[in-house]
């Protein structure tokens, strides 16, 4: 189990980020902080998907397109 965790430490990092983001969204009352939390969560998921693309010894980028190419524009509405 621990060994598996260590091999997949990149994924684990994204899970940790995901939880930090979730904490911000749930626990903070400030709307801006909530948004930052959402962004952290979003980034963590992108990191997770990008991490899947890493291959040892690989040179050329060949991963799935992460939706990270979206501009962060979905969410500026409520920032105002």
């Amino acid at each position: 189990m621990l060994l598996a965790l260590w091999t997949n430490v990149d994924y684990v990092a994204s899970v940790v980020l995901f939880c930090i983001g979730l904490y911000c969204v749930i626990a903070k009352n400030n709307l801006i902080k909530k948004f930052i939390g959402l962004n952290i969560m979003e980034t963590s998921v992108f990191a997770f998907i990008v991490a899947m693309g890493v291959v040892e010894g690989g040179t050329h980028p060949s991963w799935e397109p992460a939706p990270g190419r979206r501009t962060p524009t979905p969410y500026p509405r409520a920032l105002s």
Binding site: G53, V55, T73
Partner: protein
Amino acid sequence: MKKALVIVLLIVAAVPLVAAVAGLPPHGSPSNPTYTHVSAYYLEHGAEEAGAENIVTDMILNYRGFDTNGEVTVIFTSLAAVFGVLLLTGAVARKPAAPEIPVSMVVRFIARLLAPFIAIFAVYVILNGHISPGGGFQGGTVLGALYITVSIVLGRDEARRLLPRGPKPWLQAAGPLTFVGVGLLGLVLTGYYLGFPTTPALAWLRTAMIVVIEIGIGVGGAAVLASVYETMEAD
């Protein structure tokens, strides 16, 4: 009390997630299904059948082009959302603008000096997307940033001239529209929406279609970014 509950909730969420990622195939191993199944096909055939030398671009615009078509629409949706919710009402629009903070001469000069170079770089990024990292999204962001810079440094009216009112709504929709246009061209040529001709004789057309999409995404992205900035600045 609330904090304790939240922490319990987080632990409840985190433990199975960690267990799940630990159970995934090992990170970075070349025998992962992520490489052996579909990606292998892309890597093998991408360069010759898809029309762009950069396989990422192949994937985004050709193999899974419809996803990108959707993503572009998501961007447009966010624009429409901003406009729909924040759009100036008559009363607010007539409100006198806040006094402008004077910008120093040096900054103005440098902004004017750099603007054409930024624009050229943006065009380069957009057009080069099919052979090297880059493409419409990135180039469009650079263009949008240029607009924001101009708007901040040289004033709103100066910036408005870059994005004239007439074609503005068409430019904002440029991403989805060029996508659909190229997709329909593909439909005519190959019988499938977003189909790219596969014969070697038509390879130039394939590349041209990809470049057109990149330009559309770039222009559309820039216009969206600029308009959103404009609206939010006014709010």
